[in-house]
Symmetry: C2
Subunit: 271 residues, 2 copies
């Protein structure tokens, strides 16, 4: 079985895509074709996945949208469905976990054993020993928050340590110490292209998960130019709401496909 | 219905206790009286709760231990059981959530609507707008990581901004801006009494959730002396493994009670 990084490289090429589609199933926004209830979540995800699988480099289910509805079973089925039908597409469980070692180990089991995700997002605030239990899954990806896409990111992540913002310190730490199994990815918001170019210079070819295009307004040209590697890859540009809620009628899956195609091609234009 | 802070003050007094018992149900460590399987989790918790409810100021279920086993139902039943039988004891869901606003809102629903917790632990790394959706639940407690109990805490939390460690900056931010609904609590590891006294001076009477005694080795005299308020309260000293796995035979619940009683009284000795 391919490890996460190899799987990612293969799908970047096969689907000619740096687009990661976020699965944030908000039942209040479900299309008219589906009942607005937790029982529809799997069907909604399945239709989005079937319509977009050849256009993406990853799917990123956001666990909060399942947990709020008690829909863990739908999350498990969604991931299983992707693995069985589109095994070339890796699944990143967006959970932003982070806790002391003994607890982090249980979160590792949640992500990688229970849900069989290929990667999980993790918060670095508790330091190395809180991340180590995830890093030990050598074939999995550990996606660490660095500079997030939200406005409040600046509150803590931009505080300067001897003239260097915290998020750069975090990136340096990840790159120089935490990445010894070569399974780290960092989260860099699309909304901050300047920070992104500094980070690209700091961490070499380490992949970036880039939320913040679409609903959050990040500029695709700027982010791709700032974030791509010399090979023209290195990015998982993540969009959720702008893709999965592109339409709200019977043709919502086709609408999602169109939105995914447009964004994939826009990203490719600047690679 | 009492809000979290009032409930906490009332139970501090009623049970004469600053002890918070962490419910970390690791099935591999279950006593011989119970089968080592996920189906035993609720029974294990129930027996611990029945044996300790008059000695504690809060219970703190750690969601990772439920999530790893797919035991969300057992978590919901555990919290419901506490509310129904010991309504004076608040429940802190230890989940360390943290995400952008729209997702944080879903995590808020998970903690406060689905699980009906009285408080939830939250990671501050993403800044104010990621915490605001939790703070808006005015009657609930929002327990923010500040200086955690693990060794790796120093990696990021101790980095200095103009001579002030990050965790102090975080505490100042919480105290001066995030606490306008008076529903914040901060996490300060028992393993760092010096940092704890600085923090107590910075944030006034804000309660501290203090993990790190027991299995992690924090010194009770030092932490209580450093962390208590002038009223001799202000602390939720959290112990999990040293209480719930105090015994492993048929008398495990009595053993948990003895361990809880000893720790409660030791804490009280230094108030």
């Amino acid at each position: 079985m391919l490890n996460f990084q190899d799987k990612l490289r293969a799908v970047w090429e096969k689907n000619n895509s740096l687009l990661c589609v976020g699965l944030d199933p908000d039942i209040t926004r479900f299309p008219s074709a589906l009942e607005k209830r937790a029982e529809s979540i799997f069907d909604f995800n399945k239709m989005i996945i079937d319509a977009t699988h050849d256009l993406v480099c990853a799917y990123k289910p956001q666990i909060a949208y399942f947990a709020a509805y008690g829909a863990e079973e739908a999350l498990a089925r969604t991931i299983e469905y992707i693995h069985e039908n589109y095994p070339q597409v890796p699944v990143i469980l967006d959970a932003k976990r982070g806790d002391i070692g003994s607890t982090a180990q249980k979160y590792g089991e949640e992500a990688f054993v229970r849900y069989q995700a290929d990667a999980v997002t993790v918060n670095p605030y508790l330091g190395y020993d809180s991340v180590a239990p995830f890093l030990e899954y050598k074939d999995k990806g550990v996606v660490l928050l660095c500079r997030t896409s939200n406005k409040g990111a600046a509150d803590i992540q931009d505080l300067e340590i001897d003239g260097t913002p915290l998020y750069e310190k975090v990136a340096e730490m990840i790159s120089s110490k935490w990445n010894s199994n070569n399974n780290c990815i960092i989260v860099v918001g699309a909304t901050w292209p300047e920070q992104m170019s500094r980070l690209r210079a700091l961490v070499g070819d380490m992949p970036f998960l880039v939320p913040g295009v679409g609903a959050q307004g990040g500029d695709v040209e700027k982010l791709v130019t700032a974030g791509k590697t010399t090979a023209g890859t290195g990015l998982l540009v993540s969009a959720s709401r702008s893709i999965i809620y592109a339409g709200s009628g019977d043709s919502f899956a086709d609408d999602a496909r169109s939105a995914a195609l447009d964004l994939r091609d826009l990203i490719n234009k600047y690679r």
